[in-house]
């Protein structure tokens, strides 16, 4: 029993299922079913990672995409639509154009991949213990390290978080009735009803 055969069978099985769910994602008329199909696509991608001996990446893939992103997508769908709601069928012209674009792109990429030798990247050996290697590379500040993008990502997450909350925040919090809570632009035009002990009128600073 050769190990290669098992891996090959496994690969094609995962690939076929992945394709099936990917098509289901874009053709499902119920949004939530599309999200569930998407979840399976993402899980199966984790399967590919496992086959490439990148177990840690596979774990993180499931953790982030299924446990995080798909759950958020499902939340959004649950908050905005109902079970009975069906996506409208696109008109035939749009379908045809979409299919044409997809097939064209697929044909191009497939042709390119078949004629290209990705030698340099394929030869790179996966590290023995991927979690440790990834951790070390992320914090390595030498010429092969990724500490700059690591820190940039932390800043990105912070900015996205602050921006997201700022956009999502609707009304002033009940504990701060006297401030505008950010909803009104400021102190010149906005005078709180009860404030008396401020004779300067905010002119003392800046």
């Amino acid at each position: 029993m050769s190990e290669g055969a098992v891996e090959t069978i496994l690969f094609y099985a995962i690939a076929a299922m992945s394709l099936f769910f990917a098509i289901a994602t874009v053709t499902a008329r119920r949004l939530l079913r599309a999200a569930v199909a998407l979840m399976f696509v993402l899980v199966l991608s984790a399967g590919f990672y496992v086959m490439l001996a990148a177990e840690f990446l596979a774990g993180v893939q499931v953790l982030v995409y299924v446990g995080g992103i798909v759950v958020v997508i499902v939340f959004v769908i649950m908050l905005t639509s109902s079970v009975d709601l069906l996506e409208e069928r696109p008109p035939l012209l749009r379908k045809a154009l979409g299919a044409l674009a997809a097939i064209g792109f697929f044909g191009t990429t497939a042709a390119v991949y078949l004629t290209t030798d990705f030698g340099a990247a394929a030869d790179a050996a996966p590290p023995a213990e991927s979690a440790r290697a990834i951790g070390a590379a992320l914090l390595d500040y030498g010429p092969h390290g990724y500490v700059v993008p690591f820190e940039v990502i932390s800043l990105l997450l912070l900015a996205a978080l602050v921006g997201g909350i700022a956009v999502a925040r609707r009304s002033p919090p009940p504990s701060q009735p006297l401030t505008s809570g950010g909803d009104l632009p400021g102190e010149v035009s906005f005078t709180p009803p009860k404030r008396q002990n401020d004779p300067e009128g905010g002119a003392s600073h800046a």
Binding site: A120, P149, A159, A166
Partner: protein, 477 residues
Amino acid sequence: MCMLPELIVVATALTVLVADLFLSERRRVVLALLTLVGLAAALAALLAAPAGSLFGGRFSVDEVAIWFKVVFLLASFLTVCLSLDQLDGRVKVRVRGIGLRGEYYAVLLSTLVGAMFLVSARDLVTLYVSLELATIPLFALAAWKRSDAGSQEAGLKYVVMGALASAFLLYGFSLLFGLAGSTDLAAIAAAVRPSPALFLALALVTTGIGFKLTLVPFHMWAGDVYEGAPLPVIAYLSVASKAVGLAVMFQIFYRVLGHMVKDLGPLLAFLAAATMTLGNTVAIVQRSIKRFMAFSAISQAGYIVMGFLGPDAGGVPAMLFYMLAYVAANMAVFGVIIFYANATGRERIEEYRGLARTNPLLALAMMLALFSLAGIPPLSGFVGKFFLFSIASKAGFHWLVAVAAVNSTISLYYYLRIVRQMYIEPVYPEAARLPVTPTLAATVAVTTVASLVLGLVPVFYEVIHNQTIEWLAKLVG
């Protein structure tokens, strides 16, 4: 310590965010001042610090990077100057739902940091992540008018299109990595050879960049986003965000493909021609000043891309100079637009009638800035365009120069539409002199003078040229 400017900006962003927490609503006006001080300090640190590299070459600052960062910092500084009146409420006509000043400045500074890291990146991962940092916070900023459906729509459209562009870019990057087996830009440059896969990668990357730079046909988001987003954010989008796209394009086209950039000339020339033509023709029929500026900005992107056509590295200083001139002129125009919107809430082109009677100086500034955008001789826009056109013509793209010249003429027509409204059309019957806040007046004055001086005094271009050209000669062999 060549990372000092970035660190100062990060520190400012965090300080603003935390200070916002401890300040009462009335005291939060100091946040803008804090931001401006931080930006000025970063600019000083940038000009004082020598070029160099950190982390074994993973972060490195060279002459081109410094000039890009100057553009980013100036654009952000001016954006903050234009924002603070609206955010602090020193306006006649209040913009609904805009607020949360601390968060606004912090998020704005974050995008700036992303842009600054981006030009110093020397590997694909940092490049991509910094580009995301420069882009994603802008989605939130576009939707910042929270009770305004138009702003929400702008944010949503920007997110969707931005995510799509990001996916294309990442796909292209992954192909580049696959071809070279390394994320290092220099290593990729050494490894790649012209091949179908490289061209596919390039097409995908160009798509992604085209979104940032609003190249036709990847410009669709611009009109709607500019229409809905808050005005200062549009000013930033049209200038800094465009410079970010230019920086990514520079990183990929010069650092990675330096030895074959001239083979891509026809493709880029086509993109440039399509972009400026579409931008200009569509701008003619716009009635909202915001959409008008969106298409004006698209056409400007078309001119800038011409700089990549150069047979040698001469295009880079020309692009940088044009970018500086564009920052000055565009910010001056936005200064007046924001002033007018703050004072009257009017945002349509025909509503600018009679501005020259009520506020002659501002109208003059607007006129000069618009002429600079159109490329009228003594102004900096003309000088910048002259250099860009000469690059294209040196590279043999005479047809493109002709197209660009025709386009400049068209643009003059539609820029004159505004001038006509301001100077010739009768003033509103009840119109009186509109008050101008000191910051806005100063901003408009400085940017207008800058767009004059940049064109009249050749020393600026010479400095940029001399500093960058020697250094670039190494990249383009």
